[in-house]
């Protein structure tokens, strides 16, 4: 392993520690780290809505800009002042979650292959956010705005493209005109419109994109911003006066950090960072990386056109086309190779994936060539045959979550799928009917599925809320779901141990075969993380 990749993996481990530490406070499902993109949307809309009010109040004349914005904070603090503060804090939060979203996806290696589109369409969004944010600062036209506008002009003038240097707009009060502020307002509103378009583009290749965080997280975020706005209202500094050097300024470190940097270094250095950074982000997806895995493959004879794979594919990589059999109305799934993430979630959705089918060779409707459902059935049969007596536990996990190779015991049969979402629920019943005392299903933590929806669909299918659903109703002890990320193998081992004991205790009390799935009381599967 090269030094840089080992640095990266230690950064990833460090990051995951942080992410996991939020689970105890927020719960896995509401962990903000797993909703950074959706939080970005939320903050954007807060900025947009509060901005509407500010725009109504804004007077874009030279004399009016400062007065109108300052009036909000002074005379109308209870409404305009709060909205102004919300506008600014939500803009900061928007930038922050966007940067963290980028960092997270980078650390998780989610920028190559089928993800390159989302990555590449995300990079320009950062520029849009910066442009509208920085120009927004100027609309206060106080000393900070004066400093920032002049600094930006100097920075842009470094490029030999403007016939008249932009800095001449800020030399003296005479140079500043009403038109300038109309231009600022135009950019400050126009660029976010481009941003909406860019955001829409950014999520084109994923289905069911989360464009709004879970309600509790949204409400909590809004309340936090509101509390901040009330506790620390945003105010203007002294009005801009171009005949004076602005004094010491409290800077906006989110949007303006590069301006003191420019004074400490030079405009050229800042340009090099911006251009170099953007180029780096753009070339990342095309740098050499592991070869793409084989994509899903449809077997028309086994596809009845039920559309379940189409519904469940997290990347909108399936379209329904007329079936070649020519039967009127019958459809066939078709995979769009460029969009397919090779996750196997479609195979888990297909009704033809049930191992109870009486064909000697199980061929399903949509399958992964590298791990066909037919081969999985054979593996499970072999694994069951090796389990000793009736105490065995079958573990279904995935290559993305906690590694199953660290689980040891003669009583275990382990199957690591591409994604847990690839597991047809009927396999759980098949394992129990085939002699396993219990089944443990694991995969990435809730909300953290490497293929977005795998653990969500699995949970819903096993709980009978989604097709294909688990027909059997195993007891809470016989079927456990324990989500655990890579690196949490020890915690997963604890769950297995706990399960062994629970099953053993049940065996003592109950001489009835617990593996008879239909004999148990009706319970939805116990849902836990590896942490309980």
């Amino acid at each position: 392993m090269s030094a840089s990749s080992s640095n990266l993996s230690s950064a990833l481990i460090a990051y995951q520690r942080i992410e996991h530490s939020f689970d105890s406070a927020f719960g896995a499902g509401l962990n903000p780290w797993r909703h950074l993109g959706a939080l970005g949307f939320l903050f954007f809309w807060i900025v947009a809505l509060t901005g509407l009010y500010l725009y109504v109040v804004l007077d874009t004349s030279v004399d009016g800009v400062y007065r109108s914005i300052n009036w909000l904070s002074r005379e109308q603090w209870y409404l305009g002042g709060v909205l102004r503060s919300l506008h600014r804090y939500a803009a900061d939060a928007f930038l922050l979650v966007t940067l963290l979203h980028l960092l997270r996806e980078f650390l998780l290696g989610r920028y190559t292959g089928f993800r390159h589109f989302s990555w590449l369409t995300g990079v320009p969004l950062l520029w849009f956010i910066y442009i509208s944010g920085v120009v927004g600062v100027w609309l206060r036209w106080d000393q900070l705005a004066q400093f920032s506008a002049a600094t930006t002009a100097e920075w842009l003038d470094w490029l030999p493209v403007f016939a008249t240097p932009l800095i001449r707009n800020y030399l003296s009060a005479n140079a500043v005109s009403d038109r300038l502020f109309s231009l600022f307002a135009f950019v400050h509103i126009g660029v976010p419109l481009l941003l909406i378009f860019g955001l829409w583009f950014h999520i084109q290749r994923i289905s069911r994109a989360e464009v709004f965080p879970p309600t509790a997280l949204s409400a909590g975020s809004l309340l936090a911003l509101l509390a901040l706005s009330l506790a620390l209202p945003v105010t203007s500094q002294a009005p801009a006066d171009l005949s004076l050097v602005p004094g010491l300024l409290p800077l906006d470190w989110f949007y303006l950090f590069w301006q003191p940097l420019m004074f400490a270094t030079s405009a050229g250095v800042v340009w090099a960072l911006v251009i170099g950074g953007s180029l780096l982000l753009f070339v990342l997806p095309v740098l050499p990386h592991a070869a793409a895995a084989p994509i899903a493959e449809v077997h028309p004879d086994n596809c009845n056109g039920c559309r379940r794979c189409f519904e469940d594919c997290p990347y909108a990589a399936i379209v329904m086309v007329p079936h070649p059999s020519g039967i009127a109305g019958r459809q066939l799934a078709q995979v769009i190779p460029d969009l397919c993430a090779s996750c196997g979630i479609c195979a888990g959705a297909c009704p033809s994936s049930t191992p109870f089918r009486s064909t000697a060779e199980l061929v399903t409707g949509i399958d992964m060539p590298q791990m066909p459902i037919g081969a999985l059935r054979q593996d499970v049969e072999r694994g069951l045959a090796q389990l000793e007596g009736r105490n065995g536990i079958v573990v279904f996990g995935c290559d993305q979550g906690a590694s199953l190779s660290r689980l040891v015991g003669e009583d275990l049969a382990r199957f690591s799928l591409i994604c847990t979402g690839m597991l047809p629920p009927s396999f759980v019943e098949y394992a129990l009917r085939g002699g396993a005392a219990g089944v443990l299903v694991t995969g990435c933590r809730e909300g953290g599925c490497a293929f977005r929806l795998g653990n969500r669909w699995t949970e819903e299918r096993l709980a009978g809320l989604r097709e294909p659903h688990l027909r059997a109703r195993p007891s809470r002890k016989a079927l456990r779901i324990a989500w655990a990320d890579r690196g949490e193998e020890a915690e997963l081992a604890d769950v297995v141990e706990d399960m062994r004991q629970a099953l053993a205790a049940e065996r003592l009390q109950n001489t009835e075969p617990i593996a008879d799935a239909t004999a148990d009381t009706i319970v939805s599967p116990a849902r836990t993380t590896a942490h309980g």
């Binding site: 030999p160 008249t164 050097v245």
Partner: protein, 135 residues
Amino acid sequence: MPADQALIKLSFSHEGKLVSACRQRSAEELAKLAPNMRAPMDCPRGRSPVTVEIDLDGTPVYRHVAKPSGLSEDGASTVYHRFPVQSGEHRLAIRLNDDARNAGFNYRREETVNLKPGKVLVIDFNQETGGITLQ
């Protein structure tokens, strides 16, 4: 910037004089040109670079030769330079040349300025209002 300083900003955007005047083409020269190019006068569009010098209290502090912009060097020359000075009284001498055909400086201005701390003094150039301006 320390609190007891003031800032001087020099900025102008000015088109230097043409490098050379128009010249009558001789009959021979005209004959060599393509028929659609036979203008009797040859008027080069190139402009002079603009040279500017500043002395502060008798010491030269800045000198710059600003080339004309544009591919054929026929645009304005622009300068932007800022430098902090101690607040208080200073003797400023500014010299500017915008004509390559003349040596020396065709615009000069000397002034004693009293700069308050934090004050920005802008040195500009505007031909219509008589050359070098201070504000």
